[in-house]
């Protein structure tokens, strides 16, 4: 389990994202202006007694996944184009109460694709927005810079949370991949959810995904837990203590340990990680993970 196979165009690796699109993802991440309803209402089998405004978990997920795809694309970009070091997939899971929906969540030209080379991802977003980003001005201050923000994935929320079905789908997709690239760098599967699985305990299905592997190591299953509970955002947690609820603890325990080389790079970048750190984030987006992927020399002064 060395996790040091070279990632190249001849031996690419995979990122597969699993995105919770259930009704509970309509909940507001950081509720403000909470107001009591005149009478309770029922949506997708859930009863609501209050309304709130603010960014929803679904919007948080959409931003997280679009940011991860953007950073991965830029990482693989060269002057001549984007090198296919990775293939990517985004599987959404949700659906109405009568039928689960577990399928490709890309919108735009990539709709329906389970996996696509990163050059195709780069050249086929549904649209490109411009957003503001604070950057170092080199003189100790910050300036606002416009950045291109492509959208491959929209905020969607409705129905249950068939996380077991989603993990089984991941096992099927990644099983095919590791058979094709048996010596390559193992796939990384990132599940983004509020953790409330509605089709059973996902632990067994998660083990099925992690049992897959190449000669270089087992598939890495990482989880991002989005919660309305207040608490300090956490990246690469090394213990379940301090996590706010059973959903966060469940996702933490399903998450793979960070491979040693990722731990080493994280430490070089000044992050606090231990040998027990897992690929788990609470109310954080794991974009820093992209910096830990090794496709060649990365200057330590590149931010």
């Amino acid at each position: 389990m060395s996790y040091n196979a070279e990632i190249s165009r001849a031996n690419p690796s995979v990122f597969l994202f699993l995105i919770d699109q259930s009704g509970s993802m309509q909940d507001v991440l950081d509720p403000s202006n909470v107001q009591s309803l005149d009478k309770p209402i029922s949506v997708d089998g859930r009863t609501y007694t209050h309304s709130a405004s603010g960014r929803t978990k679904a919007q948080g997920v959409a931003d997280a996944i679009n940011r991860l795809l953007r950073e991965l694309t830029i990482k693989c970009a060269k002057s001549e184009g984007v090198r296919d070091y990775y293939h990517l997939g985004v599987i959404g899971y949700g659906g109405d109460n009568s039928a689960n929906r577990v399928s490709s969540a890309f919108v735009g030209p990539l709709a329906g694709r389970e996996l696509a080379p990163i050059s195709e991802i780069a050249n086929n977003p549904a649209r490109i927005e411009e957003r503001g980003k604070k950057v170092d001005d080199g003189a100790g201050g910050l300036v606002e810079q416009k950045v291109k923000f492509p959208i491959w994935f929209e905020a969607i929320a409705g129905g249950g949370t068939p996380m077991c079905a989603a993990l089984n789908k991941a096992q099927s997709i990644l099983g095919g991949w590791v058979a094709q690239y048996p010596t390559g760098f193992p796939p990384i599967c990132i599940n983004i959810s509020d953790g409330e699985s509605t089709d059973g305990d996902p632990t067994q299905a998660a083990e099925g995904v992690k049992a897959l592997g190449t000669t270089d190591g087992n598939v890495l299953l990482f989880n991002i837990h989005l919660s309305s509970k207040t608490g300090t955002p956490v990246e690469f947690a090394d213990s379940e203590s301090g996590l706010p609820d059973q959903f966060a603890k469940l996702l933490f325990n399903m998450s793979s340990l960070m491979p040693a080389h990722m731990q080493a790079i994280a430490r070089q970048e000044g992050m606090r990680v231990t040998e027990m750190s897992r690929g788990f984030a609470f109310n954080a987006d794991l974009v820093s993970l992209i910096r830990f992927l090794d496709i060649g020399t990365r200057p330590s002064n590149l931010r």
């Binding site: 001849a10 990482k75 002064n301």
Partner: protein, 251 residues
């Protein structure tokens, strides 16, 4: 002073020739006694774009006497402007445009060899290396002297000024004297790491291995062999990366 300079280079296995992102340059061979020979090897970082053109700009500037350890602050801005003009010539897709804003990065090692006074001086930023050998014995390893010092996260010179905070202070310099028959090797990191590790093994005559190279073909065969072989601990003898060697023998 008579000088024999040989240059060898090879892209990373699996990459096309035009994807080679190291660079090397040399000044004109000295004709008068009061002259210098300058040689440089630079290594553009894989994870940045347009790094080959940045590496070549740095190597050329050093060999033309326009960039040195003591004038980086004044020498870099002009090179950064030239790089920006070069890369801004045509419209780019969104990802290339965003990547450009981070700039290109490169390591560089340069050596200046005096022809009248038998002295040399070298400078380095990052992990390109200079080795001074005499009768195949390594006298000086600069700036690295152990293979374990190499990693994939070096501090490098950037084409964007704001990335260079702290880099100028990290520049390393060294100087020494030479005698007739000495050979200087300049290498990018993968070869330098191999050189140091191989030389540390019992009977590991790394300088002799390089001395036997006769042409680009023999260099390519040598590199391929090392890339596909492993040390006792299972580590590849040479990391798969762009490889550059300048070998300069003075008589």
């Amino acid at each position: 002073m008579r000088v024999d300079v040989q240059a060898y280079w090879l892209p990373k296995a699996g990459n096309a020739l035009e994807e080679y992102e190291d660079a090397f340059w040399q000044s004109r061979i000295p004709t008068g006694d009061a002259d210098f020979l300058r040689l440089a090897v630079a290594d553009g970082a894989t994870e940045t774009s347009f790094s080959r053109s940045w590496a070549l700009l740095l190597a050329k500037a050093y060999c033309r006497g326009r960039l040195a350890a003591d004038n980086l602050q004044s020498g870099l801005p002009k090179l950064q402007r030239i790089w920006k003009r070069h890369v801004g010539k045509k419209p780019l897709p969104w990802y290339a445009e965003q990547k450009l804003e981070s700039g290109a990065f490169a390591a560089i090692a340069g050596i200046k060899i005096g022809s009248q006074v038998k002295e040399w001086s070298a400078f380095a930023v990052g992990d390109c290396c200079v080795f001074h050998t005499r009768e195949e014995v390594i006298l000086t390893s600069f700036p690295m002297d152990h293979a374990e010092q190499f990693n994939n996260r070096p501090l490098l010179l950037s084409s964007v000024a704001s990335n260079n905070l702290g880099v100028v202070e990290s520049v390393k310099c060294i100087s020494g004297t030479w005698v007739s028959g000495d050979t200087f090797y300049l290498m990018s990191d993968a070869l330098a790491a191999w050189f140091l590790r191989y030389a540390s093994l019992p009977g590991g005559d790394a300088a002799y291995c390089l001395r036997t190279l006769t042409n680009q073909r023999s260099f390519a065969d040598f590199v391929e062999l090392q890339r596909n072989d492993v040390f006792k601990d299972g580590e590849p003898m040479m990391r798969n990366d762009d490889v550059t060697l300048l070998a300069c023998t003075i008589t």
